[in-house]
Each structure stands twice: as structure tokens, then as C-alpha cells.
Point group: C2
Chain length 322, copies 2
């Protein structure tokens, strides 16, 4: 007897394997299994939401591990909540599968449940369809009214920060198909950044009353910081010698270009009034997370990268989907 | 120069063509173009949400008109809001395209904007990716806390209603590829039900304090009413002679089977205490929409269909995606 859509939802997303449904969460009044899910927000909070689609052979390789795919998909999508300063609540999953492979689904749902627990989210709905392998996730979170971090608040006089280190995930693309046994330790570190990015959710929530603008770095620092600059109507200067580069990345060639133009890092880039540097330092210490000042906002438009001699440094372009 | 993802969003969804972004809507604090959209709900309201995916050659034919696709996708998804009694607010669109076809996109976005205006919704976010043609829409609405219509409230003593007429859309599948010029008038009527279903949004909102359970008919009456019965822990009896059948459907063969087992109608099926029949009649008149009493709830489990002689009538199975 063929496995029905209802069976898949029941076995892999409601009762068995991952058990991702969080009926016990106070925000979720009704989860999977009705026409709509029902979410209740805290009084005075707004809903923040974002959608990401991952298509096989475009956003992840053919035959990519379903366990890695589940975690990576949710992390990538949750990263948008982080960039907006949202407290994560729930997500939906639109999953399109060419065939019903129970091993694939089982590993997928266990990993998705783990990631959901790690990020503090529950699955509240979705759709399971037949077709070329593709996932669309919508994440939902909340923030006190008016406190969501947007891209358009950067001001002249602000300084620019990034979290963590940049360029690791894009450097890993070169050995995505290398057999694990043949990887050097550095390469394994870089690959982990690609396979299992960390959405900076706690950082984002702590930036609500500190950052003037924020974005997550999915398409590369130059492209994503460019969005802040454009939305805010200002110019930005990045000192390339101040970019946070991991030891592993420095061992693997064009580290600066990877840091400026490589996507998939999912670190946050944000602007803060220069007068509040001490608050950022305190936050960095309390979160045990590197927050590096890499430049500043000035009058004008566009991004200028400079080196230690104040000469212009030209990065390659950010990734474009078409 | 190739058209980028940013260009597509700007040209077809933000500024040009359809102009679907509803920045003027008070519920939308931030629409497309930031990491997250920000929605504000009315005080005392809950968020209701649902996701639907449509895959080419599974849920719609290859080379299907992009204008029809846009309207149908939003209608199908909004129908879940109707079934839950939600007031529609906003939606997101995850659109995966094999190539950038500007004529296709232009017709798609104009039609999507028209449908969004018709249903009272605005586009607040999405993702545009490259890959096999596929759409995932998430619709969001709201209802006063505790008033969302669920599937699990049907009670013994309730009567069962459906809106509109049933079976038309599934009967249309037989001539989906017939040239328009060769269609009979009846066939054109049925095709319109398939191509342009009407989400029963106003009906759903009016059922909030009247229906004990509700669902929209996407997989066929027998299958979808079965979900209400199972979730409510009751049995249901449908009198097949009371099913609302259109004149067009009666001209085209097995009308009863189409009405019981055919999907894609997107009418609502709901249960109401027998004591409130007069309220349903009043609602039907005020909405100018047929609301037909087709059966009743009794103790037990499962669905029984009977004919005018009280003999059991066996419908074919509802559509299964796998």
C-alpha cells in the first residue's frame, strides 16, 4: 500500500521520528492537522516572518544528506529572524519530494526536530507534495511593537560590526564533494560552517535597543551591507584589515574575497552609534561571541572598502540567483 | 545583462506590473524588502496561517497560464483561511522558476495583485529561486482569540452543510486541454470552477459563532468531511440526494461521484447545531450563497452515504498525493 500524504505527516512530523509539533508551547493554540494553525502573540508584540526556499542542485547538492538539509534549511531561515531581532516562535514547512523514501524522511524529521528545539521553534503547519526536491520554510517570531531591527536605520556616525568570522562557508564550497576521510582538519572546520550555520538569534534579540540597522549575511558582506546602505540612504566604509577571518580560512587562499563576497555565513552585520561601542563589547563578552568593528557609516551612497594604507580594495560581486 | 532576483522582486512585485505590496495597510508595519516582514494584529486577535504548494504537472498542467496560476494559487490557499473563519491579512510567495520569462512574470504579477485585492490581502514577503516551476504560498489572517473554526467541534445532533455546488471542478479535469473554441457552454462553466475557485472568506467569518466545525473541500467531500468526523470523534451521514449539483455538472456524467470524491471545489463543509438552522438560512440569504443541508452527525465513527431509499451509497476514494 502506498504511503499517503497523511501518513507522512503523521509518521514523520506529528507522532513518530522527530515529533516536532510543540502543542505544549503557549504561543501555539493549534498546530498541524487543521486548515490553519493558530498562533497567539504576547500582548504588545508584533509578528515577524520570513520565507526561504531551497532547491536541490541550486541551494544544496544532489544527494545531500537529509539530516544536514533539515538543519541547514531551518538555520538559514531562522537567521532572518535573528537579523530582525525576533524571538523565534514557530515555522511551517512546504516539502516537495520526488518519491517517498522513508529512510530519507526519518533522518530529515529527527534532524529538523533537533534544530527546532535548538532554535526554540515548533512546526505548526505545512504541505507535502510530489515533485522535484524543494523545501520552503516560513519562520515566525515576535518582538515588542516597534522594536524590530530593520535595514533602513543606519546613521552617519554609526560604526559597522559583524559577528563571528566571515568567508568560511563559501571557502568550503571547493571541497563539498571531498570524501570525509580525505579532508584536512581546517577543511572540516570550514565545511561545518557551510553545513551547520548558526542563526544568531540571541545576538539579534540583544541588538533590539542597540543596533540602528541589521542584516544577516547570506549573499556576502559587500552585497548585504550594501542593502543596509541603500535602505538607509548612506555610504559605508569597510577596513578590510579588520575583517574577522578564521585561522582555517587564512590557510585556504583568497580569504579577503571570501569574507567580502562569499555567501552562506549567516553572521549578522549591524550598525551602532559610535557612542555605544562599550555596550557592544559588553554584549560580545556576555554572549562569548566575537563582534568585530569593521568600518563606519558616512554621508553619500555605496560601499567603499579600504586597506591598511587607505587604498581602495575592490571585492568581487555577491552571489546573484539569476 | 541577466535579470537578477532583486530586479524580479522590484519589477514585478514591488513597483511595476501588479504592485501587490500594501504598505498602506495598517496591519503591515514592514512589507517586502527587509529580512522579515512585520505584521501587527488587532488587540485580542490570534494569527491564523496556512501553507499550500503547487507543483507544475502535479497541481497544474505544464504551460498553464501564469495569470490563471496566480489567482488559483492564492484562492486555494486563502480557502484555508475561509475554513478557519479568519479575516485575511497578508501572504508570502516562494516562487521557483526555471527561467526568467518576463511575459510570464508580468501576467503572473498583475493577476496576483488582482486576486490579492479581491481577497483583501497584501504580499509581505517571499523568496524567488531558480529550479523546476513550483509555488508555495503562506496566507495569514486573524480572528478574535478562541473563535477560530476548527475541525474537532462537531457534536452529535449537529447537521452538516456545504456551500455552493460540489463536483464541478473535478468534472472539468476531463476537458482541461480542450481548445476554448470547442468547449460547450456547460463545459466552460465547469472549467471556470477549476481555474478560478472562490475562497468562501465572508462565509467563514460569519460562521465563527455559528459552526461547530468547518473544513474546505480540496480533496473531495467524503475525504474532507471524514477529517471533521475523525477529529471530532463522531460519525456522519450524508444524504446523496441532497448534495448540491450544478446544472452543468448534471449534464456531464457521474455527478454524484464527482460531488462526493472530486477535489478542487474549495467550498466549505461545516456542522451546525440543528437548533440553529434558521441562522444558516438567514446567512445564505444575506450572502446570496447556497448553503445546503446534506446530512447529520451521529454517535460512532466514519462516514455513511445513503440514498433516497436509505440504502448505502459508496463513493470512490478522495485524491491522495502519494
Amino acid at each position: 500500500m502506498p504511503v499517503s500524504e497523511f501518513d507522512i505527516i503523521q509518521r514523520y512530523f506529528r507522532e513518530g521520528a522527530g515529533k516536532i509539533i510543540g502543542a505544549g508551547t503557549s504561543a501555539v493554540r493549534c498546530g498541524i492537522g487543521d486548515d490553519c494553525a493558530v498562533l497567539s502573540l504576547a500582548v504588545g508584540h508584533e509578528l515577524l516572518l520570513s520565507v526561504d526556499t531551497l532547491v536541490e542542485s541550486v541551494h544544496f547538492p544532489v544527494n545531500y544528506s537529509s539530516a544536514l538539509l533539515a538543519r541547514r534549511a531551518l538555520a538559514v531561515c531562522a537567521s532572518d529572524l535573528a537579523a530582525s531581532g525576533a524571538s523565534p516562535l514557530a515555522f511551517t514547512l512546504a516539502l516537495t519530494l520526488p518519491t517517498v523514501d522513508e529512510d530519507w524522511l526519518s533522518a530529515f524529521s529527527v534532524s529538523l526536530a533537533d534544530a527546532a528545539a535548538e532554535f526554540g521553534m515548533v512546526l505548526v503547519g505545512g504541505d507535502t507534495t510530489r515533485g522535484p526536491l524543494c523545501l520552503s520554510l516560513q519562520v515566525m517570531g515576535s518582538a515588542p511593537a516597534g522594536q524590530a531591527l530593520l535595514r533602513n536605520g543606519a546613521q552617519v556616525g554609526d560604526v559597522i560590526y559583524v559577528s563571528g568570522s566571515l568567508g568560511d562557508a563559501s571557502a568550503a564550497l571547493a571541497f563539498l564533494n571531498t570524501e570525509p576521510a580525505e579532508l584536512q582538519a581546517d577543511q572540516a572546520d570550514l565545511l561545518a560552517r557551510y553545513h551547520a550555520p548558526t542563526p544568531r538569534l540571541v545576538l539579534g534579540q540583544n541588538l533590539r535597543n542597540l543596533a540602528t540597522a541589521a542584516i544577516d549575511i547570506s549573499d556576502g558582506l559587500a552585497a548585504d551591507l550594501g542593502h543596509i546602505l541603500k535602505a538607509s540612504g548612506v555610504a559605508g566604509v569597510v577596513r578590510v584589515q579588520d575583517l574577522p577571518l578564521s585561522a582555517a580560512l587564512l590557510n585556504h587562499g583568497s580569504a579577503l574575497d571570501a569574507a567580502l563576497s562569499g555567501g552562506d555565513d549567516y553572521e549578522l552585520c549591524f550598525t551602532v552609534p559610535a557612542s555605544r561601542r562599550a555596550d557592544v563589547a559588553f554584549l560580545s563578552a556576555s554572549l562569548d561571541l566575537a563582534l568585530s568593528e569593521i568600518g563606519y557609516i558616512e554621508v553619500g551612497h555605496g560601499l567603499r572598502c579600504i586597506d591598511a594604507q587607505n587604498k581602495v580594495y575592490s571585492p568581487a560581486n555577491g552571489y546573484q540567483h539569476f
